[in-house]
């Protein structure tokens, strides 16, 4: 009896907290209704429309591999700065042949050609010490290295702009351009070249319909000037590699705003150019920008007025209509002639090489600097011609937490984007710069999206959170997640390095190879489409030096664009290369990495802010189904032994084997437990079957 009384007492006592919890839940529920409603109504974008991911996932095929905006599939992209990749044809290093100066040439044309020849001679640097000048890489070089890229596992190449660029030299005293081999070996450097920039990068376009002479072949001048590019498209296509063209539709080239010729002053910016921002179509002048002879600026009204962008406090109007640093004339796409010219160019390249393999699509540069209406027109036109065309918009700093990029993303329907938010945070985390954004808490919510911690909070929790942190600057704003479909977010492009940001090993000279490799693995295992900047597979980087400082810090543009090195070259890093190769193939062998869901795990002994364990699993992986492969990523800052438990994950009881991707070592899985041993900063990737 006494025992029974005790039991009943215990029962009653145990009911009390349950009752209280129930009351609390009711309370929360009652309050959550108006709060949830309010949260939906109050949004930076006004009334928010929720996209129903489930609708598109009803079809089983779509569930396994749902299409995403931008038309990237299970791809591995590889970005090449053509001039820095491989010099297969020395004859086009100083391509005089494109500018004949014979007696039969019209005097005016001859003067123009003569000027260009001078600029070409002084724009090429065979020593490869002045990083702002041309170094000789060409499209034939890319063709020669297609087998290398195929073997590496690349599926699509993103070429830096190859359209015809203005020749010239921009001198800026505050911009360095000399590569040091020792700390203080800059004494003999040429005073102009060591601060000079040329159009080697391809972003100073003058003729959107032509290939730049540096990337053509002298033999083709009187025949098919596009031959080399056709050959590249066809040979890449035969290897199953697509070519994505980079287009700069925002601006033209630098100009010298005076009728008097430029004079060199060491402490002042100087421009030595022949075209002064002019636009051509197949070599024919269609619009001038600055005409020194008549002292007229933009006579046809194709450009926005000169007005530098104040990046400290930019307005939308300023960002779209302002002038980028360097005084690059900003095209006015609201002028019908300008829009038509640019759209014609887009269509020209889209329809190019109809007989053979065509381009896969476009990487569109500086999208934030052009009005959204133009991008809407462009995507309509492109997708009408080819619905499968790849469209990647380069919106600097884009991602869930960049509201400007999300606004543009919401207003368009065909572009994917570079996920700066995830990529840059990952870089910071693995480089151990974990003070603000470079933390697991941020990475986790960026990866999980709607399954993220903050989004999953109930309205009351979120209300309390907002009370303390109203700006939500560290969070992924829930209203953004409401308008971005998960499947689309998985089509965003992630990168370890890109053509603007510093090379990791330059920016963080203390970063260990282990940490670098862990970042590579993270980018390949995370949701999204990985993009390799050329050389990242071998740890390409210039040494840390205070004068190796570019636009985005030490090691940034242009110091992240040094000449590519190849297997067999002395500093080539085989370990990193092999790892990259394994990861690209892993990516293609396991589409779950591209399309699957993510779950974070917290093994006993791991530190949530220092160690990261997450698993990728298919969307359509039914419970207990056989052959439902998952991939596990494990990283530890301090190292240690961890027992990863798969408890709580649906269908994991069928997992009986785990394979280390790098070593190929296989082991059995018992009771859903996977033992993982990690060195400090080491990560491991496992395939669970």
């Amino acid at each position: 009896m006494g025992l029974m009384t005790t039991h009943s007492n215990i029962k009653v006592i145990s009911l009390v907290p349950r009752f209280l919890a129930g009351v609390l839940c009711c309370f929360l529920f009652i309050f959550s209704i108006p709060l949830a409603w309010a949260a939906d109504q109050v949004s930076d974008y006004g009334v928010v429309s929720r996209l129903d991911d489930q609708t598109s996932l009803e079809n089983p095929d779509v569930r396994s591999n749902p299409a995403s905006r931008g038309n990237l599939g299970n791809d591995v992209l590889y970005y090449i700065v053509v001039d820095r990749f491989f010099d297969a044809n020395a004859d086009n290093n100083v391509p005089d042949y494109a500018f004949p100066v014979g007696e039969d040439v019209d005097r005016k044309v001859r003067a123009y050609n003569d000027m260009n020849r001078l600029l070409l001679r002084h724009g090429y640097d065979p020593t490869h010490r002045y990083i702002g000048m041309y170094w000789g890489g060409d499209l034939e070089g890319v063709i020669q290295k297609l087998d290398y890229l195929k073997d590496l596992g690349v599926t699509k190449i993103v070429l830096s702009p190859i359209q015809d660029n203005a020749n010239g030299v921009l001198y800026s005293p505050s911009a360095y351009g000399y590569l040091h081999l020792e700390k203080d070996d800059g004494q003999e450097a040429d005073p102009l070249y060591s601060h000079a920039s040329s159009s080697f990068h391809g972003y100073w376009t003058k003729d959107w319909f032509e290939i730049d002479e540096h990337f053509r072949s002298p033999q083709d001048e009187t025949g098919d000037r596009y031959r080399v590019f056709r050959q590249l498209l066809d040979e890449a296509g035969e290897r199953g590699i697509g070519i994505i063209m980079d287009l700069t539709l925002n601006h033209t080239s630098p100009f010298h705003y005076s009728s008097l010729h430029p004079v060199f002053y060491p402490d002042q910016i100087g421009f030595w150019f022949a075209d002064n921002g002019a636009i051509y179509r197949h070599g024919e002048l269609v619009a001038t920008y600055w005409d020194p002879a008549n002292e007229t600026l933009d006579p046809k009204g194709w450009f926005h007025p000169l007005r530098p962008i104040n990046f400290d406090r930019p307005s939308q109007e300023m960002v779209e209509n302002g002038t980028l640093p360097g005084g690059l004339p900003d095209l006015n796409q609201e002028v019908p002639e300008v829009a038509n010219y640019l759209l014609d160019a887009v269509k020209f390249w889209l329809n190019f090489n109809e007989e053979g393999h065509q381009i896969a699509g476009f990487r569109l540069d500086a999208v934030k600097h052009v009005n959204v209406k133009f991008w809407q027109t462009l995507e309509n036109e492109v997708l009408a011609i080819r619905p499968s065309a790849v469209l990647i918009g380069e919106y600097f700093s884009a991602g869930y937490r960049d509201l400007g990029s999300m606004e543009l993303y919401q207003k368009t329907k065909g572009y994917t984007l570079f996920n700066f938010d995830l990529s840059m945070n990952a870089r910071r985390f693995f480089a151990r710069v974990r003070n603000w954004d470079g933390r697991i808490a941020v990475l986790r919510d960026l990866i999980l999206g709607k399954q993220g911690h903050y989004y999953s909070q109930n309205p009351l929790q979120r209300f309390v959170h907002q009370l303390f942190d109203p700006a939500e600057t560290l969070e992924v704003p829930p209203n953004i997640l409401d308008v971005v479909a998960d499947a689309d977010a998985k089509g965003w492009v992630n990168f370890v390095e890109n053509h603007d940001e510093p090379r990791l090993l330059t920016e963080h000279p203390q970063m260990s190879e282990q940490a670098y490799a862990s970042l590579m693995k993270f980018i390949f295992v995370s949701p999204g489409v990985p993009m390799l900047m050329y050389g990242v597979e071998s740890g390409l980087a210039v040494p840390y030096h205070l004068e190796h400082a570019g636009l985005f810090g030490i090691g940034g543009d242009p110091f992240n664009r040094q000449m590519m090195i190849w297997p067999g070259d002395r500093p080539w890093n085989d370990r990193l290369y092999d790892l990259t190769r394994q990861l690209t193939h892993l990516r293609q062998n396991y589409p779950v990495l591209r399309y699957g869901d993510s779950h974070f795990l917290y093994p006993r002994g791991s530190k949530p802010d220092k160690d990261m364990f997450f698993i990728r699993e298919p969307l359509s992986c039914d419970a207990e189904a056989e052959g439902c492969t998952r991939v596990l990523y494990a990283y530890s800052t301090g190292g240690g032994e961890f027992l990863v438990s798969l408890d709580g994950l649906a269908g994991t009881r069928s997992i009986h084997q785990v394979e280390n991707v790098e070593t190929g070592f296989k082991a059995g899985v018992f009771d859903g437990l996977i033992p993982v041993r990690l060195e400090p900063e080491e990560s491991k990737v496992f395939v669970l079957e």
Partner: protein
């Protein structure tokens, strides 16, 4: 029944000649300013942010908020209805746990907390404006209460207890408020007054903390000590000759240290609120240099401007006395020379080649830097550049009487010089004064105007402002305060580019020296460069510079 005098009723009517003339002057000035900015924008596409450096403007706004917000919050707290009642209730609540709690102490603590919070918000409002270059930084972050709590606690411990009490005042026991002796108590009064003395020293009779351990004056400080205090120290946005040297020397260190510690822990608090992790990385990855520049500009720029403002204010008073002396002189209206024709300078200037040169120069501010040599070239516009001698140009722009208008070329930060002599300016002014304001520019008329304005101002003060005087006096708000603060803010905006530029360039030089001496250079990565370089070199750039002019001429100027 006698009608009451109402300054804004009977006396403010547009028929009043004085009011009318003041109105004219004000409208004329306003129109001139609008015209200036509009013409700048329309003709030269120079936006406002191009004329005033945006970052400098942010520094100024920051300081403005630092002045307004704490003062506003403090005043609000003081004027709060039922304030004492509220405090007593809080204290009664506290007394349940701590019977010895005194209302004064808690009033003091609440005031202190409000002071720190409002100070932080004031700083943030402006500081976040200058931090927009950092991705995803939003000024709203300032209002993250989760971050404000550690900030306030840290400010209290490090800035107030350790910095102010122990380091600056030398009080070994920082919790000890006031002195022990009766005389000290008499001098110091209540702890609340001591707090006032600390936070708002210029608004109270007591300037220094009393107490045995505090610094006390034993006589008049030496002139250099007084000047040091006046030009190297500010407290609560005001300067004074009478500040102990110890405080002058130590305060910048305490301030900067306090900022570093409290700001970085503010971030630590934010991270904790977001993810529950205790992450002290913000202490390591702190923008030390940027904050240092911010501090130096906002403190020393403000001090300079504030003192200049005070000086100006006193000179304005002198000027009033000077004008009063005119009243003693025989009234002989002497019409000053007005200029009814279009100023000769402007006529000749607009027709001159120099104008066209300048036009080109101004237009080119975004892309081209300008040196004296280039300016010379531009002055020679239409002539051969060689015809303009360097002496000619130097004479114009180096003339001690010339007014130099430094340009707005923010992006290039290179001064473009437009020279106008004082005579030119005077001519232009007289022209526009005569043309638009139509006012007889005579000594007596000016006197009458000023006297009229003065009388009406006095009337307005006594009839309208009297009700606010006690309030304004309580918080030290006066015309002198207004002029000084305004000049302080203007000085920050004007000096920021140079101050901050000097700090950053000095820092860069130090970094280079340190790197050259101690820095590591990765020879393995250097091998990647060596491997791809060749022996042959590009032709020297001098060849480009030598040959380009001829080709430029051939391309654009040969028919």
């Amino acid at each position: 029944m006698q009608k009451l005098l109402h300054p804004l009723g009977d006396n403010l009517n547009l028929k009043d000649p004085v009011i009318r003339d003041v109105f004219r002057y004000l409208v004329g000035t306003l129109i001139s300013l609008i015209l200036f900015f509009s013409l700048s924008y329309w003709f030269y596409k120079v936006p406002l942010e191009g004329i005033v450096d945006a970052k400098a403007f942010s520094f100024g706004v920051s300081k403005l908020y630092q002045i307004i917000v704490p003062l506003g919050v403090f005043a609000l707290f003081q004027e709060l209805p039922q304030r004492q009642k509220l405090i007593r209730r809080v204290v009664r609540l506290v007394q349940r746990f701590q019977p010895s709690a005194s209302p004064e102490k808690y009033e003091y603590l609440i005031g202190l907390t409000l002071g720190f919070i409002s100070w932080k918000i004031g700083c943030d409002l402006g500081f976040m404006l200058i931090s927009q270059g950092i991705p995803n930084w939003k000024w709203e972050r300032a209002f993250t209460w989760g971050g404000l709590i550690p900030y306030t606690v840290l400010q209290y411990v490090f800035y107030y207890l350790i910095g102010q009490k122990i380091i600056i005042l030398g009080q070994l026991n920082p919790f000890k408020e006031g002195g022990d002796s009766d005389s000290d108590k008499t001098a110091g009064g209540s702890s609340w007054k001591q707090f006032l003395a600390n936070r708002f020293p210029r608004y109270t009779d007591l300037y220094y903390f009393p107490g045995k351990t505090s610094v006390k004056y034993t006589g008049r400080p030496s002139p250099w000590e007084m000047r040091s205090a006046k030009f190297l120290h500010e407290s609560m946005n005001a300067t004074s000759y009478s500040v102990p040297l110890r405080q002058v020397v130590l305060k910048p260190f305490v301030d900067y240290g306090g900022i570093i510690i409290s700001w970085s822990f503010y971030n630590v608090g934010l991270l904790f609120v977001q993810s529950g992790e205790f992450n002290i990385s913000p202490l390591i990855y702190f923008n030390f240099l940027e904050i240092f520049a911010f501090y130096v500009v906002n403190v020393y720029g403000y001090i300079l401007g504030y003192n200049v403002g005070e000086f100006l204010y006193l000179r304005i008073l002198d000027l009033g006395e000077f004008f009063e002396s005119w009243d003693q002189e025989p009234q002989k209206p002497k019409v000053l020379e007005t200029c009814n024709t279009f100023p000769l300078f402007l006529t000749s200037f607009l027709r001159s080649t120099a104008y066209h040169g300048l036009l080109t120069a101004v237009k080119s501010w975004e892309g081209v830097l300008m040196s004296i040599d280039q300016f010379s070239t531009l002055l020679g516009y239409g002539r051969s550049p060689n015809e303009v001698t360097k002496n000619e140009v130097t004479k114009v722009i180096s003339s001690p009487h010339s007014l130099r208008v430094l340009t707005w070329a923010k992006a290039i930060r290179q001064p473009l010089v437009i020279s106008l002599s004082v005579g030119d300016v005077s001519q232009i002014f007289r022209y526009y004064a005569g043309r638009f304001l139509l006012y007889p520019f005579s000594k007596s008329a000016l006197y009458q105007l000023l006297m009229g304005v003065g009388r009406r101002w006095e009337l307005f003060q006594s009839a309208r402002l009297w009700a606010f005087y006690p309030f304004l006096e309580r918080y030290g708000i006066s015309m002198r305060w207004f002029v000084s603060c305004l000049c302080g803010l203007v000085a920050i905006v004007m000096l920021e580019p140079n101050f901050a530029g000097a700090i950053f360039s000095t820092s860069a030089s130090i970094q280079h020296s340190l790197y050259n001496r101690y820095g590591q250079f990765d020879s393995v990565l250097a091998q990647q460069i060596v491997h791809k370089s060749t022996v042959s070199a590009a032709p020297p750039s001098q060849m480009l510079l030598d040959n380009f002019p001829a080709k430029w001429g051939a391309l654009y100027f040969e028919d």
